[in-house]
Symmetry: C2
Subunit: 246 residues, 2 copies
């Protein structure tokens, strides 16, 4: 950290903010020039640390900023008046939270840290301003939102047409893929969420999730112990998808 004195100070400070946290093309800084990165950095100054179970924002909160996950793990969820909960997503390093608030100036879901986490606070008014000046930033931001729309389509497909085991397979492969992108093992990881949260995300009850885990273990597709998952046969897991049982 303190070494590498060949790097000019200005660059080090840039690195500390955006270059370091943006895992390649995950965040908003992809493809920006050094100069542009510096502008983005000055905007992103603020950080916020959250303890496990703390809310980053709640449904109804006024919208002021979007957030880039630096470290940690989040869930977003929506609550119905009668108490039913739908987890709408899990977010990890490099992913953006809070865009649901842009349309109405009010957040429409809750965002909760599932472990101690840190986010970059990106004040929205300033982001709009800067993305009128920096085309690459504008483009990145639009791409992030659009990909979120596509992600949602995938989840609708899952919730609307898949059976329990397909859903869990899709979930595990998605997790694996995202860990891989971040340089972690594709085959072995620790889930940060409970069976109930997975179930809520997948439109299943926690018992059904648990049974599907057990089934996969019997079938030697995975080895699972509580939150620790090892994927033994990703190929077969993948084949479970896109092949209707009848």
């Amino acid at each position: 950290m303190a070494g590498k004195s060949v790097i000019p100070i200005s660059l080090v400070s840039v690195k500390a903010a955006c270059t370091q946290c943006s895992l390649h093309e995950l965040c908003l800084s992809e493809g920006l020039s050094q100069e542009e990165l510096a502008s983005l950095d000055s905007l992103v100054g603020a950080r916020r640390k959250l303890k496990r179970q703390q809310f980053l924002y709640r449904a109804g909160d006024p919208f002021e900023a979007i957030y880039a996950v630096r470290t940690g793990f989040f869930k977003t969820d929506v609550l119905l008046e009668d108490g039913r909960e739908q987890v709408t997503g899990f977010q990890m390093a490099g992913e953006i939270l809070g865009m649901d608030g842009i349309g109405t100036d009010t957040h429409s879901c809750n965002a909760v840290a599932l472990e101690d986490s840190e986010v970059c606070v990106i004040p929205y008014a300033q982001l709009e301003q800067l993305s009128r000046e920096i085309q690459a930033l504008q483009r990145n931001f639009h791409k992030v939102m659009s990909r979120e729309l596509v992600r949602d389509q995938g989840l609708m497909m899952l919730l609307g047409t898949m059976r329990a085991e397909e859903r869990l397979a899709a979930f595990l492969l998605n997790m694996s893929q995202r860990f891989t992108t971040r340089g972690y093992s594709a085959a072995e990881f620790n889930l940060r969420m409970t069976r109930e949260e997975i179930g809520s995300y997948l439109g299943l009850k926690l018992e059904t999730v648990s049974r599907a885990f057990s089934r996969f273990q019997e079938e030697r597709l995975i080895a699972v112990q509580q939150k620790h998952v090892r994927i033994l046969d990703g190929e077969r897991l993948r084949r479970l998808l896109n092949h209707a049982p009848r």
Copy 2:
């Protein structure tokens, strides 16, 4: 149409393009000055007419433009390799289609006209350009995308936690609300989609949709005959939501 000669020619041409079709704040032109509207108009020049069942774009098509529905009715859907279909949305006048393509430069779903329709073609590169110049346009565009994210959250909630009759009630109330916004009757309308398409959207089989319709009719909540729906008791229909059965 040909009358009203008091309106200057420049305004008439503006009206023909954006002022007329954008039902208030639905489209992208909300809050733009006359001058800005003219810029947007020059961008939106092209129109496209589609016959019933024609594709506006297909999954895999290169992304070039987004589309504003001028007249008619669309559905978007995603297909799985094994043939399973998930309808991800129904779009009517003033709504924007195609934003799924921004993230990957490729459309991720199909968009099909459910009746003869017309759209405004908005070339995306030019929209980005112009929205760097016109703050109100940038803001509108972001709001449209964000509202789409929020809409998706609602659909996930529906697919993940609601029972068949709740889903249909939510669907009918949503339709009613959107027709109202467009100046049509809230209580009486013609659906443009089949039971199968409704089912696909709601994560149900067409038979289940049909049975739920019949049930609502028995209960005097609605009067339904094929695609024609009259809402008799919107209040009770609304109470069906947000009240878990147990």
